[in-house]
């Protein structure tokens, strides 16, 4: 009898607990299903693009459309590589994005360091004001930039395009880097200077490794933004050999009325891959945190 009364409540509680746990598991499953459904909105158009890029032309016109290719082919990729200037567009875009993002990150690094360490009040306000550039309509800046580069005879110059992109990369990397640099204790570089560093050495050996995740983040994010940019390249570049990837695809979409859709899809896939790859890389770098910034010696 006593054994029973002792056991009873235990049984009741555990049954209730089990029911609660089951309800929780059911809820989690429900959330997962909902999330996957929502995810499809994002993913389906992109999957459709990838799938279509592998379809031979006949299948592209097949009705009703099938999602996956029955006779997958690389012909569109081959065409992209061999018969269009896209390889060149890639090179151009890497060059332009590389220049403007690297310059943007380095200059932001200097700026943020100067305003957080030297207490120039006016400079602080100024750097904050730079974010305002990011709010300006690109079309507003595109007009004078066209004029400026035209006057300097630098339309169709990738350098000019890269410098123009600084209006995007500078404010953006300034904004990303600031919290990273501000979080580094001053004592660290003071210790380095007492240990025998010049200010510059302390910057290189302490600040840069500490801010490394932020540096990677700003480089990647500005790179993605520049990689995706269209308006400035549309306005400043008319020479076919100087096009960026975005401009190349835009021209494909706009110039040909009967698109060769297979080719456009393949170009779209190839334009998307570097962006997603870089993003995944940055996410890993930032997640692994400070340790990843360790430098030798």
């Amino acid at each position: 009898m006593t054994a029973m009364t002792r056991e009873m409540p235990v049984l009741v509680v555990s049954a209730r607990a089990r029911r609660a746990a089951m309800k929780k598991r059911f809820e989690k499953l429900l959330f997962l299903l909902a999330a996957l459904t929502v995810l499809m909105i994002v993913l389906l158009p992109l999957l459709w693009m990838v799938a279509s890029s592998f379809k031979p032309n006949v299948e592209l016109f097949q009705r009703p459309p099938k999602i996956f290719a029955q006779a997958p082919t690389l012909e569109h990729y081959v065409e992209l590589w061999e018969f269009t200037s896209f390889p060149l567009y890639f090179l151009n875009t890497f060059l332009v994005a590389g220049i403007s993002c690297l310059a943007g990150v380095v200059i932001s690094l200097f700026t943020v360091y100067a305003i957080t360490r030297f207490e120039f009040i006016a400079a602080r306000a100024f750097a904050f004001g730079v974010l305002f550039i990011y709010m300006l309509p690109p079309i507003l800046l595109a007009l004078p930039f066209f004029r400026i580069w035209y006057n300097l005879n630098m339309l169709n110059s990738l350098w000019a395009l890269g410098i123009t992109y600084l209006t995007i990369t500078l404010p953006f990397s300034l904004w990303i880097l600031r919290p990273y640099i501000e979080a580094i204790p001053r004592a660290l570089e003071e210790a380095a200077m007492i240990d025998g560093c010049t200010r510059f050495q302390a910057f290189r050996k302490v600040i840069v490794p500490q801010a490394w995740p932020g540096i990677v983040a700003s480089f990647v994010f500005t790179f993605v933004v520049v990689w995706n940019e269209l308006l400035y390249s549309l306005v400043l570049i008319s020479d076919e050999t100087k096009r960026t990837v975005s401009l190349g695809i835009a021209s494909l979409i706009l110039e040909t009325s009967v698109y060769s859709w297979g080719l456009v899809n393949a170009a779209g896939v190839v334009a998307t891959v570097p962006v997603l790859f870089l993003f995944a890389f940055a996410a890993r770098q930032m997640a692994s945190g400070i340790g990843a910034g360790a430098v030798k010696g």
Binding site: E190, A191, A192, M193, I194, G196, V206, Q210, I290, A294
Partner: protein
């Protein structure tokens, strides 16, 4: 080895001064402690010696050379920061070797010096760890290791023990002192803890609000505090104070309490006076003043008694054991030789 001279040093942030023309000299090999309540300018002064802070006016000399415009790296100093400032991206070993590598020392020399420092500090098993995998005490040791591998001619410490727990703090205090006795490096040590100052210093500099209140050996400060501030700051438990005046060679409070005077006070012309007596300088004696026991706290080695004298709470400490209970009426006799008199107006010793 080095001497340090601080000459009429001022520091102002903007136009707001925080250090007011400080002067003192540190002899070669001395362990000097800057002590004072937080915000009094100790760190600022230390950082000026290190070269991390501009000097607004005055001169600092290290080994008779003016260093005002010399960058920290050329001053041949080592410093331990309150939060240790270990480089998070370097291992313990790399942290300690950092300065030697900068000087392009040979690999063998670096290894040897790092290993020697690590042995002294018991860091050998931790050499390959990163700072985030260390306990507070271990980090503290690494910070010290980083300083001693340098063979610098001056050590600067800014409250290096304040982030440790009480037991570790006492232990490190002893180790630091032992280290100094071994290396004999000129040391400037900042703390707000007067016990640290008393136990470690050759010379203590007591500061308040950017001004030196007194400079001297620990015992000088204890025996002859130059003013009421130092008297109250140095010594634990703190000195008891009574406000009053001198009438016919006797100290009298407003409440009518009468206390015998030390010799120095007998000829004092008048005006209000503060009478200071340390808790350990009372004896239970029939010739003393009447006191009522409020609280008794035996610690084993001594007994602390909180008593009421003339309407004021007074602390007394006895080495010997008295059979007392709260509420007991006793008589406490101050040792006049150990009593201190201060001018109530400006706090100066009389």
């Amino acid at each position: 080895m080095a001497t340090i001279d601080i000459k009429a040093i001022w520091k102002a942030y903007g136009t707001h001064p925080v250090i007011f023309g400080i002067d003192f000299a540190i002899p070669d090999g001395a362990f000097v402690v800057l002590v004072g309540p937080s915000g009094c300018g100790k760190s600022t002064l230390l950082r000026m010696i290190a070269g991390l802070e501009d000097i607004s006016s005055g001169e600092i000399l290290i080994d008779d050379k003016i260093v005002n415009d010399m960058p920290p790296k050329d001053r041949d100093i080592a410093m331990v920061f309150q939060n240790y400032a270990l480089y998070p991206h370097l291992t313990v070993k790399e942290n300690m070797a950092f300065s030697l590598r900068l000087r392009k020392e040979k690999r063998a020399t670096v290894d040897e010096r790092v290993n020697r420092a690590a042995e002294i500090l018991g860091l050998m098993p931790l050499l390959d760890r990163y700072p985030k995998a260390l306990s507070g005490g271990q980090r503290q040791r690494v910070a010290m290791g980083r300083a001693i591998v340098r063979d610098a001619s001056v050590f600067l410490f800014d409250e290096p023990l304040s982030n440790l727990d009480a037991k570790l703090r006492v232990q490190m205090r002893t180790e630091l002192k032992a280290l100094h006795q071994r290396l004999k490096t000129t040391t400037v040590y900042v703390t707000h803890d007067q016990i640290e100052a008393m136990t470690m210093a050759d010379i203590i500099v007591v500061m308040q609000e950017g001004v030196i209140m007194q400079l001297g050996t620990p015992l000088e400060l204890y025996d002859k505090p130059a003013n009421r501030f130092v008297a109250g700051f140095i010594g634990s438990p703190a000195m008891n104070f009574f406000e009053g005046g001198i009438q016919a060679g006797i100290f009298v409070t407003e409440g009518g309490l009468r206390l015998p005077l030390p010799v120095a006070g007998e000829a004092y012309p008048g005006g209000s006076v503060t009478y200071g007596i340390r808790p350990e300088h009372f004896t239970v004696d029939a010739a003393g003043v009447p006191a009522r026991v409020l609280v008794i706290e035996p610690t084993g080695s001594e007994t602390q008694i909180l008593a009421e004298i003339g309407g004021q709470e007074v602390l007394a400490v006895f080495r010997e054991r008295h059979a007392l209970n709260p509420g007991d009426e006793i008589r406490l006799l101050p040792d006049t030789e150990q009593a201190h008199l201060f001018n109530s107006k400006d706090g100066e010793r009389i």
